[in-house]
Symmetry: C2
Subunit: 330 residues, 2 copies
């Protein structure tokens, strides 16, 4: 099986490449676009992956579709883990994939379960992309993975886990009692490797996640394991709804840094207030579920991840990202 | 099971009511809106259905949602066969259905298989409605039925089937060799009665159709059965694409009569050129199929319908509609 990847240097792309290389499938060929606007390298400050079995191919998503088509010929699975600011750059990639006879296209979803329209602007755009896939009748699988472990933990007063936490995670949405699906970013690739080799997932959405947890449970666990008391900064439903209204009233798109300050309210509204990010809602929306498809699959338990972070072996995501700034909520 | 219907006096609504009354389910209660803009009565010039087991309840879709909610309490299945010009009037109906605890909402689809966005303006709007259903997490089933027998036959030179044909059907899209699904409008209700009583169809799209046929086959059959030669007016791919471009460039909405002149080009483009209206594409888009679900179900064969029309027992649809005017294509 020959796999091509756009966005191979981003957090999700790296996990996918690791997952593919570890998997038992006979052959994988990695690939990513050279056009700087087309992948998430800037989020890591890293260069392209230099690993065995990975072939780097230059491609310009804004160039002629014919050239892209040539590059994609022979590709069985095209995976897009493109930067969130460039989701619409997938349109020419989809057209070229169709023309090249790509067997399965994986659009950039890789986030929480959200309804197709009207709750999360990023998901609205992803739905537009998926609708284009359907219009050109390209075989596809859309994969959502819930919220990452790596942006779930709050800081500790001692500061000892600051190295592995981000400001994204500050605050508890509402009462903190809503169950929501979480996944270690390192496990995404394991799921993707299984999903793209599975004929049952063709032309379906798939929900891949590790555990279901509430924010209160996250805080309880961290307090117990660290021995420190953690300040609980509840973001009220009213504050979240005000943020959502501000986002809806704005014309901000994902290419703008301010977008990421406001979209956090839409995320909170979705998973902490509405409770969208659950297997039940995913099933209602038509997703298949990795717990049903691959009951044997292994993953990193959240508690193990917390322990890693506490002993200094965690790793921060979005290290050098300029997109994510502190979020101020009263 | 208690069923409520909006648009009960339209072609689809009448078929559904007949299908429900004929079915073996214990109890059905019909219902439709009294607000004139909310149902298809004008297409028939007919009053509300007066049949055993049908209860007429007045409802104003543009009135307060609370009043609608009151009316809908106790409804197991809410079926919308609303006039195409008023599809967005389903939004308050969906909100009220959710508030009333309706067990299954059937949005107004009841047409050919088309991708969710970008090919047929009516389907674009239906997708917006379905996305609202999904956002409020209302249990649903969306049912498409292909193209009606009743708008499939061309006229005969003798004029003897004019009484049962409409100008909608004039012309062969492209080379006329594309397979497309057709259904007798009278069978729609039979399918709907089975589908809404079936737990397997909950939160799915379902494709219900009678036969697959090409336009050339339709003309061949009519010539053979009538003994008359039928003029074949091919609408070229170029003419269809020009019509599609005109539609896309216009700001026409389904409330405008001109909309229905232009949307025929989008329909032709979809089922005659792209070949969207097939079980294969429906499966790709995630539809279940009545041929798989109910292999035992009976329906009127197309040949039998043609015979009916030839012996003077056919019935025209859209008899008094002002929406449908002759379509001039060079």
């Amino acid at each position: 099986m020959r796999v091509s990847i756009i966005g191979a240097t981003g957090e999700t792309g790296q996990s996918i490449i690791d997952g593919l290389l570890k998997s038992t499938e006979p052959k994988y060929v990695g690939y990513h676009g050279s056009h700087s606007s087309c992948f998430t390298a800037k989020a890591r400050g890293a260069g392209p992956p230099k690993k065995k079995g990975i072939h780097i191919v230059a491609a310009d998503l804004e160039g002629p579709e014919d050239a892209l088509t040539e590059i994609l010929k022979g590709t069985d699975v095209m995976i897009s883990a493109i930067n969130a600011g460039n989701l619409m750059a997938q349109i020419p990639l989809i057209n070229a994939s169709k023309a090249a006879g790509v067997g399965r296209f994986i659009p950039c979803f890789f986030a929480t379960i959200v309804p197709p329209k009207g709750i999360l602007k990023l998901r609205d755009i992803k739905e537009d992309v998926l609708n284009h896939v359907k219009k050109v009748r390209l075989p596809y699988t859309a994969i959502d993975v819930g919220w990452w472990y790596q942006i779930t933990l709050p800081r500790l007063a001692s500061g000892r886990i600051d190295y592995a936490t981000t400001l994204v995670t500050d605050g508890i949405g509402g009462d903190g009692n809503m169950l929501s699906a979480i996944t270690d970013v390192r496990d995404i690739g394991t799921y993707v490797a299984r999903i793209i080799a599975d004929p049952r997932t063709l032309n379906h959405m798939v929900f891949a996640y590790n555990e279901l947890i509430t924010q209160n449970h996250v805080y309880d666990l961290l307090e117990k394991m660290s021995g420190e008391k953690v300040k609980r900064n509840h973001i009220s439903v009213e504050a979240i709804k005000a943020g959502v209204a501000q986002m809806e009233a704005s014309n901000l798109g994902p290419e703008s840094p301010e977008f990421y300050e406001l979209i956090r309210f839409q995320y909170w509204h979705s998973w902490a207030i509405r409770g969208d990010n659950t297997p039940e809602y995913a099933k209602y929306l038509g997703y298949l579920n990795t717990k049903d498809l691959y009951p044997d699959i292994g993953f990193i338990p959240f508690q193990e991840y917390v322990q890693e972070v506490l002993v200094g072996k965690g790793k921060s995501v979005y290290e050098k990202s300029e997109d994510l700034k502190p979020l101020k909520v009263e």
